[in-house]
Structure formats: C-alpha cells, structure tokens
C-alpha cells in the first residue's frame, strides 16, 4: 500500500509539473484521436445520413453490418490496417507503418462504424417526423440528408463524443500499427502498457490519471450537450 501511495504521489507531481515526457505522450494521443475522430465524423455523417434517406437494395444488410462493426475489437482493426500497410501488403508502398498516420487510419476504421450507425439512427428517427413535410417542400434526397444532419446536430455531437471516447481509450489498434516507438508513436495507452511492464508504476499511474480525466471530461461534455439541447427543445 505504501508503494502505491508513493507512486500515486509521484504521479500527481508529474502531472502538476507538466513533466515533458508525459506532455509529449498526451499531446500525441490527443492529436491522433482528435484527427481520427474528425475524419471519421465526416465519413460517418455522410454514410449514416445516406443510409437513412436513400433506398437501395441491400440497405438493410449494410445497416446491420455497420451496427455490428460498432463492436469491432480495436486489436482486430489494428491487425487489418497492419496487413494493409505492411511492406508486403497492398498499401506497403505508402510506407505508413509505424507512423502516427497509420494510427490515425486504424482509429478511423474503428470509429466510423460508431458514428455512422448512430448518425443513421438519429436521422431515421428525425425522418419519421420530417419525411412528409420535407418532401412536400420539394426537398431532394441530398437536401433531406443535409437538413437531417444539421437538425440532429446535438445527437451527432453525442455520437462524435462517443467515438472519441472509444479512440482515446483503445490500445490494440495503435499498438499494432504504431509499434509504440518512443517519441514517435507512443500514446497514453501504449505507454501505460509499456511502463507497467517495466514496473514503472508512477509514470503509468500518471498517464492513467490523465486518461481517466480525459474520459471524465468527455462524459461531462456529453451531459452538458444533452442538457443544453433539451432546454432549447432541440434534443
């Protein structure tokens, strides 16, 4: 117990003094996950909105697959992207393996199904109310998608936050495609795994605390958005 308290105390000191190792790792994690979520959002909104509005054969199957992919294990996503980017893989020429870009790609693969499936659900719910009126106003399908996406913006923000929560907390995907290289591809999660395996409990704890705080912040933001939205009857 004394060891643990000691480690905890050291961890807090590392955080409060903005230890440069800690800061570098945290910033990289944020950069990778925020960029991945931004890209995944653009793709996810478009796919989710289109799925809700356009009718085409196989639509039900695509929706089902997308919902199932929400539960894609991060390590599987990592493996998949690794096979693509490896030098013997189809995209090997891009030389992206072991770079932050590879990690972003892997997290995009992980997060797109989440955002797309939640967007589809939100748009379908909205469509139930709006479909007749929008068609009466003469909206084309693409105009309907755009209208629904903006109208459902608070639910979409929720989807984005959910996606970010998943990305920032996963270790499997970034470990495999990033290689946990010091100063290059070492994120909070991979660093925690490494430092723990080295017995460096203080640094691991510090990272863990920051990660936890990030998760709390995301949840807090989620709740504020929901409250704000219902106040305006925009929920």
């Amino acid at each position: 117990m004394a060891d643990f308290l000691q480690a905890f105390h050291t961890a807090l000191r590392l955080i409060v003094t903005f230890d440069p190792r800690l800061v570098e790792i945290v910033l990289l994690s944020l950069r990778v996950s925020l960029l991945a979520v931004a890209i995944a959002s653009v793709i996810g909104f478009a796919v989710g909105g289109a799925l809700a509005v356009y009718r085409f054969p196989g639509r039900g199957a695509v929706s089902a697959v997308l919902s199932a992919l929400m539960g894609l294990p991060p390590v599987v996503a990592g493996l998949f992207v690794y096979l693509l980017l490896s030098n013997t893989g189809p995209l090997g020429v891009l030389q992206l393996l072991y770079t932050p870009t590879a990690m972003i790609i892997a997290q995009v693969v992980l997060v797109v199904p989440i955002i797309a499936a939640l967007t589809r659900q939100a748009c379908e719910d909205l469509l139930e109310e709006y479909d007749e009126q929008l068609r009466s106003l003469g909206a084309s399908s693409s105009a309907i998608v755009a209208t629904l996406l903006w109208d459902g913006r608070y639910r979409l923000i929720t989807a984005v936050l959910a996606g970010f929560g998943r990305a920032i907390a996963e270790v499997g995907a970034v470990m495999i495609v990033g290689g946990n290289i010091d100063h290059v591809t070492r994120t909070m999660t991979t660093a925690i795994a490494l430092e723990t395996s080295k017995g460096e409990i203080a640094l691991a704890l510090a990272l863990g605390i920051v990660l936890l705080l990030t998760a709390f912040a995301v949840n807090g933001a989620l709740m504020s958005v929901r409250r704000f939205a219902s106040r305006l009857a925009y929920a």
């Binding site: 990289l28 950069r31 925020l34 030098n87 072991y98 010091d182 723990t196 395996s197 925009y234």
Partner: protein, 283 residues
C-alpha cells in the same frame, strides 16, 4: 436571449480545430528527418539501453532510430516482410538462418549479457546457488513449482526451451498448470512471475531495470549455457527496395565501432553494467 448554434460558426470552429491540431501540435519526427526502423526485442528495450545509446547516435549522424520492440521471432518475421531496416536480436541460430535465407546481408556480434533464473525468496524448489541452469529446471519440474515462460518465440524463450531440452524435460504438457506461458514481453512476464510467485528465466538487463521485484532474488547464474549473445543484421535491400541500406549500415557500423561499443559499456544501473560489448569481425 436564446442561443442556438449558428451553422457557420460551428463549422468554422470545427475546421479551425482540426487544422490547428494537424499543424500546431508538432509530430515528434517529421518525414524530412532521416530515420531508420530497427526491429528489436522487448528485453533490450525494457533494459533502457536504447534510451541511453540512441541519442548519442542521433547526435553524431542526425539519424533518428525508431525501435519497434517485439520478440526475436517476430522481429525477424517483420524484417522478412520488409517492415524494418535493421534487426537487433539475440538468437544466433535464427539469425544465421535469416542471413542464409537471403533476408539479411551480414550478421555482426554486438554485445552479450547473461540470462539468470530468478524466483521468490521462499525458493520452494531449492535451486539457489546451483551451478547448472538445466539442473535448476529439473528441480523446478520435479517440485512442480510455478514457472513463468515468455512463450512468445523470443530469444529469451528460445534459450529457455533449449535449457528444458538439456534437462531432458518437456514442460508443455503442464502448460496452464505449473508451467505458465505468458506470450508477452520480458517485463510483462516478470510481472506475472512476481504476481504468481513463479520462477522465470530472464536476461540480466531486464532484471536490473525491472522496478517491481518484490522479494525475488537471483537464484542461478554463471552457467556458460546462460550466455546471451546479441547480433545485428542489415535487412537485405535486394529483397525489399524500401530498406534504407545506407543509414542502416551507418547504424551498424557505429554500433559495432568504438563509439557504439563504448556507449553500450557505459550503460549502468545502480553501478552495474548490463551489456558487454563484443563486436569483432562479422561472424
């Protein structure tokens, strides 16, 4: 009084955030910096050796060395796929096979250290002070005392399996009972060993730098069979044109040359040297 998100503000803000992120937070090493990827082992990484010697190399040559730390088997595998420029591992038979297969250019000795058997202070199998590691393994098997194995095709794992062979024992049938295969790196395996009060074979470097020893002690050491040789090989650019042969060779030359060797020798934990440089002519 009412506040609702103006579409232009929201879109503009989001765009600024994304662009700002992509640009302002500098990635540690840009593509413009020269760099090579070295496939190496977890034991070397966990020992902290790389943090000690690589900055010296970077200062001298400006080349950034990016280490991907996996087990020896996986490192050689990755190199065969061309996902690395240099390999630095510790399993001579596999390294020779790698070069013979045309995947590597030439194998050079770099440094050595030794393996040790560590175990709980209580030493249930009574192996402390034995001169021969295989004998220790025999007693552990006889006592069915818990033993944590890397189980990951690493150099350490291969050395451990060789010792079981020398002892005339096959531990695999007991896998999951007293023989625990973690499939993990050295650090994680040490954590498991300590947690389970199990014996384990580890390289001295990882042990010295491991921060979670509990009451564990070094029980068997000094057996010549515990000698642990590290080798470095340039991945063959003829097989994979993307290999940075020039920078890779620069690294190998430095590592096996006087400066690299001195850097290795100067790495100490609590005054104890972890790795002993022994580069000679290529073997």
């Amino acid at each position: 009084m009412t506040l609702h998100l103006d579409r232009r503000t929201l879109v503009g803000f989001s765009l600024a955030l994304v662009i700002g992120l992509g640009v302002a937070v500098p990635p540690a090493a840009q593509a413009e910096d020269k760099f090579i990827v070295v496939q190496s082992t977890t034991s070397t990484q966990n020992s902290g050796l790389f943090e000690h010697i690589l900055p010296k190399f970077k200062e001298k040559t400006g080349i950034d060395v990016r280490v991907v730390a996996v087990g020896t088997g996986q490192a050689l595998n990755n190199a065969e796929k061309g996902d690395g420029d240099v390999v630095l591992v510790h399993s001579k038979p596999d390294e020779d096979k790698f070069v013979a297969g045309g995947w590597g250019v030439k194998r050079h000795d770099v440094m050595y250290n030794d393996f040790i058997i560590v175990g709980p202070g209580s030493d249930p199998a009574r192996i402390a002070g034995l001169k021969h590691a295989a004998e220790g393994f025999k007693k552990i098997a006889a006592a069915e005392a818990p033993f944590a194995s890397r189980g990951d095709d690493s150099g350490t794992n291969k050395a451990e399996l060789k010792l079981w062979q020398d002892a005339g024992i096959d531990p695999k049938p007991a896998s999951g009972q007293w023989y625990l295969e973690t499939g993990s790196g050295m650090g994680a395996t040490l954590n498991t060993a300590v947690g389970k009060q199990a014996y384990t074979l580890t390289d001295r470097g990882s042990w010295l730098s491991f921060a979670n020893k509990d009451d564990f002690k070094v029980l068997v050491e000094g057996d010549p069979k515990l000698f642990n040789q590290y080798g470095v090989i340039l991945v063959n650019p003829a097989k994979h044109p993307n290999v940075k042969a020039k920078e890779g060779q620069t690294f190998i030359d430095w590592l096996t040359g006087p400066e690299g060797q001195a850097a290795i020798a100067s790495y100490k934990i609590d005054g104890q040297q972890l790795f002993f440089p022994n580069a000679g002519p290529p073997s």
